[in-house]
Symmetry: C2
Subunit: 369 residues, 2 copies
Amino acid sequence: MSSFPPFTRLAASLPDHVPFVGPEAIERERGTSFAARIGANESGFGPSPRVIEAMQASAGDMWKYCDPENYDLRSAIADQLGLDVEMVVVGEGVDGLLNLAVRMFAEPGEAVVTSLGAYPTFNFHVTGFGAKLVTVPYRDYREDLVALAEAANANNARIVYLANPDNPMGTWCEADAVEKFLAEINPHTLVILDEAYCELAPASAIPAIAPLRPNIIRMRSFSKAYGLAGIRCGYAFGPAELIRPFERVRTHYGVNRMAQVAALAAFADQAYLSEVVGLVAAGRERITQIAEENGLKALPSATNFVAVDCGADGVFAQKVLDNLIAQGIFVRKPVARGLDKFIRVSVGLDHELDLLAEALPKALATARI
Amino acid sequence: MSSFPPFTRLAASLPDHVPFVGPEAIERERGTSFAARIGANESGFGPSPRVIEAMQASAGDMWKYCDPENYDLRSAIADQLGLDVEMVVVGEGVDGLLNLAVRMFAEPGEAVVTSLGAYPTFNFHVTGFGAKLVTVPYRDYREDLVALAEAANANNARIVYLANPDNPMGTWCEADAVEKFLAEINPHTLVILDEAYCELAPASAIPAIAPLRPNIIRMRSFSKAYGLAGIRCGYAFGPAELIRPFERVRTHYGVNRMAQVAALAAFADQAYLSEVVGLVAAGRERITQIAEENGLKALPSATNFVAVDCGADGVFAQKVLDNLIAQGIFVRKPVARGLDKFIRVSVGLDHELDLLAEALPKALATARI
């Protein structure tokens, strides 16, 4: 690489490798489309028909910049949560909000704590802003709240990250355990509670909104249950003292107008959301049944995907995955040691899960050769 | 503000004030919509009908994440420019790309050079990443290329920013002058050449694409001539050594799927673009004529807006602007000393410019009281 003009010391030190391979890249390489797209925890049920109508009706308005304050959407969210509008910030998905939170709280060189094998995009931002990742292993395929709190406090962490429900395992912690964890974290450590899957979880897993705690930001998404992964819209909430300063760093026109329209319409159609929650629960059962029919165990899930234990090691699970992809079925898998014997299957439409049921025996047989 | 959890030293030092008031915020305050939306350099002509159709047809696909590589769009852009695909990066508008470029090249504490009164969002990013802004006054309402180059070299700048055509004045430099400027900049200084308005400028103002220079990144947008401000999509190009490292810091799923669809369709309809370029040129003439009918002078413009000299000082121009807004006409104005006697009027539809013609005499008369 040319050294003129020079990158910042931090940018120059960043790894070139980034772990983001989309299904489109695999499709380009294979020269054909996937028959089942059940690997990225998207919602094949799609957004509400009302959301689609709203997007179509607003297409002609896209010459206008979006409202930089995201006012209507923030107001709707704040109303539902019983918060003031300045306790809510809307961003370009949870990914975009994680970027901003890490930038504002993770002092370069200091510790940030997460689980080993948890969300790689969070780690990408931590490394990208020069902070030091400290990881804690999962325990029984769940995030280990006791060990996370200990590591956060022992390392004087600037941030500790917890996804509940968890990705990539789909497991969850009950609200009282989360509350206990939150109470144990030093007040000068920011807790990011990523609740991207919260609408799909049992109510008992989600802590109450009130009272807001001075060191906690919770993040939610329109990508999962609302079926709008492609639109990039998420929100964060917490005390105004933590949320208002996002104004100092966020790209004010970053959430596009179509995302604002779609998210607002999605949020307004809670009946559709309930319907999807039911469909996702049925899909999880179907995936679990398919796993069991093949002699495999699946983890209980509070998300729109199921982690299936392929019954051997990571090399074996990778072979299963490769063969499923060769059969036109897009799935992904955890890569961290201890989690890598699983593949992760997103709830898809019936015909996609039929394809999975058909393909899995062959994939397992091939992997066993 | 609570000091627990603490912000980074940099985030704690950032100003709370951010200069981004959207027309929607003014409308909320006034309790009524603007009759003419001609203040944000949007294109009231809208996107191509084919783009609208493409967006409508893809609304049901928004449950899928976008292609994180933006491959199809980057390929189309690269083809048109005669570049390789790895010389092009797509981002969340020029705003998003400026964020990344500043983050990668502006070492905290070091100098970044721009014109006094030029694009505030660039300055926002420079301050936000802790670099030091050095500003150079405009000369005859044009960016002063000689002084910019001198300031960049004298301050050992990490970045020098030039918008050509310029915002907020609409003026432009000819390509040979830009080339001369580029040649004078130290090779260890990154030049960001913001060409958001290039499709609306005379061909003589735009330097050739080849050869790519080792220290120059050029940025372009779908927000202006393509009529897609609300969709947040822009692109940057330069040598692969400068462009590939954007992978280290960009939010890979940041450009949403609708933006990819819209931008690709917009780029494919160059006939519509030509039509808009003609309509914008006619609109600039009409605004100039309205100014002259009121005894005012307008600057020649290579953009989709015209800077109108209100003939007195900044206080007077602010009064004119306030009265236009009170009459339901959204316009904006430069705020930097020396430029602040202008108001900036975007090319709108005929009926919007009719409203301007009607309202301006009254606004001037009121300001003169």
